[in-house]
C-alpha cells in the first residue's frame, strides 16, 4: 500500500454520463489499491460529519466527470481544501480514449454502462495518479525573488477598492499581469479579476516544462462562480508554479500581486509579446472602465 497516494476521493459519480461512471470506477480502484476513502457525493449532501472528517485526514482528490464540475462545486460548497483534481473528459482527450458519451435520446441508456474504453481510461488515470513525481520536477526552478515594496494606485467603486501596482508590471487586456526580471516572467491575475471571481477554490497549474504561446492556457482557476483559463500574457516555458497555492489558493484573493502569483516562465521573446501588453498608464483606464461596467458581486 502506498500511503503517499492515499486520498479522500470525491467522485461526481454522475449517473447520466459515461464520464461520471468513470469517476466511480477510479474511486473504487483507488480504494482497493491504496486504501483511499471514498466520499459519496449523494450522502455527503445530507450527512456530512463523517465525510468532513475523512476529507481532513487525507489529501482530497476531486474527480469530475465533465465540465459541469459537480464534484468540484460540492467541494467548494463544503469548504474543503482540494489537493488534486481532474476531469475525466479532459483525461479522455489527453489519452485519446473515446468515451461513449452521447447524451441524445435513445443512445443515452446504452452509453451508461462502463465499456472497455471507460475501464481502460479509469485504469490509465489511476496509474497516472499512483506514479511517482514525473521527470518534469527536474525542470522546476526556484521562484524569482519577491518584488520590493509595491506602490499602488487605487480605484474605488461603492465599497470595493481595486489596486494596481504603479511600476514594474505589464498587463494584458485579459486582466493578467506579468512582472519581468531578465528573461524570467512572473504571472498573476489583477486585483480586478480576482474580485470579479470571488473566493478562489483551486488553481490547476500548467506542467512545469510546458511551452506556452502568448495568450495560451497557463492552467485554470476555479471559484464557486466560474472556471477561468489563465491566459498567459507572454510566451515561454513554464519553470515554476506557486506551490503555496496548492494548499492556500486564497492567497490569490488576499495578495494578487505578491504571495498570490501563479506561474513563472522563461520568456521566448518579450519584445514581440510587448506589443500586446499594457503598462500601468495603458491598463488603469481599462480597469476603471471594466469596474464601472461590471457588477462585482
Amino acid at each position: 500500500m502506498n500511503s503517499r497516494n492515499t486520498y479522500a476521493v470525491l467522485p461526481c459519480n454522475g449517473m447520466d454520463k459515461a464520464a461520471g461512471a468513470v469517476t466511480r470506477q477510479i474511486a473504487l480502484d483507488l480504494s482497493v489499491q491504496t486504501g483511499s476513502e471514498i466520499i459519496c457525493p449523494v450522502l455527503y449532501r445530507v450527512a456530512d460529519a463523517r465525510y468532513n472528517r475523512i476529507a481532513q485526514e487525507h489529501p482530497l482528490l476531486v474527480l469530475d466527470g465533465c465540465g459541469t464540475r459537480c464534484a468540484s462545486k460540492l467541494a467548494v460548497e463544503k469548504g474543503l481544501k482540494v489537493a488534486k483534481k481532474l476531469t475525466v473528459t479532459e483525461e479522455a482527450k489527453k489519452n485519446a480514449i473515446p468515451l461513449a458519451d452521447s447524451l441524445r435520446g435513445a443512445e443515452l441508456a446504452a452509453s451508461l454502462r462502463l465499456d472497455e474504453a471507460g475501464l481502460s481510461l479509469a485504469k490509465t488515470i489511476v496509474a497516472d495518479l499512483l506514479k511517482a513525481e514525473g521527470p518534469e520536477a527536474a525542470d522546476h526552478q526556484a521562484p524569482m525573488a519577491a518584488p520590493a515594496q509595491l506602490e499602488y494606485e487605487t480605484y474605488q467603486k461603492d465599497k470595493f477598492i481595486f489596486r494596481l501596482p504603479k511600476t514594474g508590471f505589464f498587463f494584458s487586456e485579459n486582466d493578467f499581469w506579468v512582472l519581468v526580471s531578465g528573461n524570467r516572467a512572473r504571472v498573476g491575475m489583477t486585483d480586478f479579476l480576482q474580485q470579479s471571481l470571488s473566493d478562489i477554490a483551486f488553481f490547476n497549474p500548467p506542467a512545469v516544462g510546458a511551452a506556452i504561446e502568448q495568450f495560451g492556457e497557463l492552467g485554470t482557476i476555479e471559484s464557486a462562480k466560474a472556471v477561468l483559463e489563465v491566459v498567459s500574457p507572454v510566451a515561454g516555458k513554464v519553470v515554476a508554479v506557486n506551490e503555496a497555492l496548492a494548499t492556500s489558493p486564497e492567497l490569490i484573493n488576499q495578495s494578487p500581486y505578491e504571495q498570490g502569483w501563479l506561474v513563472e516562465l522563461e520568456m521566448d521573446d518579450l519584445e514581440t509579446d510587448r506589443e500586446l501588453l499594457l503598462d500601468f498608464a495603458g491598463y488603469f483606464p481599462i480597469m476603471k472602465r471594466k469596474v464601472d461596467e461590471f457588477q462585482v458581486k
Binding site: 447524451l103 487586456e173 485579459n174 504561446e213 506589443e275
Partner: protein, 96 residues
C-alpha cells in the same frame, strides 16, 4: 458609449467567439448560465435552441464557457492566428 476595442482594434474586426457543434450540444444551457457577457441566446421553441447572439460581447481569448460544456460542444478559433490578425490590424491602423 465608445466603440468596443481590444488592444486598440475594433472588436468587430476580431473573429473570436464560441462555435457550437449542434451534433454534440444537448441544450443543457450551462454555457448560457455561466457567461456574464450575454454572448449566447436561448430561443425557446426554436431549433437550434441555443445560438451565439452577440459574438462581439465575447472576451477575446476567453474560452471559459467551453470548460462548462459537459459534452465538449463549444470550440474557439486558433489563438495564434487571432493574435497575428490583431497585430496585423494594429499595423494597418498605425500606417493610416
Amino acid at each position: 458609449m465608445s466603440e468596443p476595442t481590444f488592444m486598440g482594434v475594433p472588436r468587430d474586426r476580431i473573429d473570436w467567439c464560441p462555435r457550437i457543434d449542434y451534433a454534440k450540444c444537448n441544450d443543457c444551457m450551462e454555457c448560457v448560465k455561466f457567461c456574464p457577457h450575454r454572448v449566447f441566446e436561448v430561443r425557446e421553441n426554436e431549433t437550434p435552441k441555443l445560438i451565439v447572439k452577440n459574438p462581439e460581447n465575447c472576451v477575446v481569448f476567453c474560452r471559459a464557457c467551453a470548460k462548462t460544456c459537459g459534452v465538449d460542444a463549444l470550440s474557439f478559433p486558433d489563438k495564434n492566428e487571432t493574435t497575428s490578425r490583431i497585430k496585423q490590424i494594429r499595423k494597418e491602423k498605425a500606417g493610416q
